[in-house]
Symmetry: C2
Subunit: 215 residues, 2 copies
């Protein structure tokens, strides 16, 4: 829809790998590196073949130079553009518990271009307080705050039984994507994107891998 004409489209697996490349490259920048070879990237990410790295990065334009490698800073910029995170995204966070507290303090969000515009909860003892300089609003205020802050992403950290009602309010208010931490299956209209972070599922999948030796 609003994909710029000159942008290529990544498969979900490539998009996920781009995020991992980004994390790896950012670490190299912190270490003071300025260039990196496909072999070094492969090693850092635990990928066996650096041909996979070169193939993944090829759509970004011939950025690698034989004997020198990739210029890390330019590669980061190109990956961020390909992922659509060269711009900033505004999110609202619903459910002001421990997880919300951890998320708000989590420096990574801001570093990657995500700003949390407000916290929302229905607990009267939380509404009106502040968490890390963010005001906690009543859930009834979500629609107006989403509009005034131009938030496009909703993060849900309420208990499972409250999650669908919160999702409905977010959708109604025009949110475009939801990051859902509640351990429940949300029903959303097809134009609203959904990413589930069900922490039990992550543990279940890890247990399955341990037991079956896949990976």
């Amino acid at each position: 829809m609003d994909t710029p004409a000159n942008e290529f489209r990544l498969s979900p697996a490539s998009a996920a790998r781009y995020s991992l490349y980004l994390r790896c490259l950012e670490e190299r920048v912190r270490m003071g590196c300025r260039t990196i070879s496909s072999k070094q990237i492969a090693e850092a990410m635990g990928i066996r073949a650096d041909a996979q790295v070169r193939k993944d990065l090829a759509p970004l334009g011939g950025m690698g130079r034989a004997g020198i490698g990739y210029p890390i800073h330019d590669l980061i910029t190109a990956i961020r553009e390909a992922l659509g995170i060269h711009r900033r995204w505004i999110a609202v966070l619903v459910g002001a518990g421990n997880l919300a507290r951890a998320l708000v303090r989590y420096q990574g969000f801001r570093d990657q271009g995500f700003d949390i515009a407000g916290l929302f909860d229905n607990d009267p003892s939380k509404v009106g307080t502040e968490i890390e300089q963010l005001h906690v609003f009543a859930i009834a205020q979500l629609p107006e705050r989403i509009k005034s802050s131009r938030a496009e992403i909703g993060i849900i950290t309420v208990p499972a039984e409250a999650a669908q009602a919160v999702a409905d309010v977010l959708v109604e208010a025009g949110i475009r994507g939801i990051l859902n931490f509640a351990p429940t299956v949300l029903r959303l209209p097809s134009e609203v994107r959904l990413t589930n972070v069900d922490l039990s599922i992550q543990l279940e999948q890890l247990a399955y891998q341990i037991q079956h030796g896949s990976g």
Copy 2:
């Protein structure tokens, strides 16, 4: 390795879907249902074709009955066995911050068979305290506590720069799998399973989906 001979092996995608089926079926149990059709499962999970559901569940044995559906309780048992979570798993949690607090309070872990045996941190103001009746130990005590509790899973919630050192201690102490919340790429021996929950990556992938309309 220790895969029972009568267990079939799931693809990573099927294993992930089994977790989602489980969540959907558990919700039905809470609603008081006793049977469910493949069509109802497909609808609840937002899958278009119920043929996919029937195909996914076929390896569990012919549990579906025409006109009646699947017996929910038996289906849950069969899926939990297939995923290897019909047994309990013991985990240690390293990094006693807000995220750890949220994870420890998260009822879902216990419900799905995961017990947290202890919290570990190097902050002297945290060591010796209790979080939700769990004692916070010094990280130096990890090896002996892992052995005495028979923990097989390590959960890492320390900052990125401390994560590799913690992972090394966990591996050395014989942990079989790591659930890593630190936004960094961990290097582990191949026999140790790793699941990364990088919250920035989840948000990046959501932003990519919003922008490019995939899903």
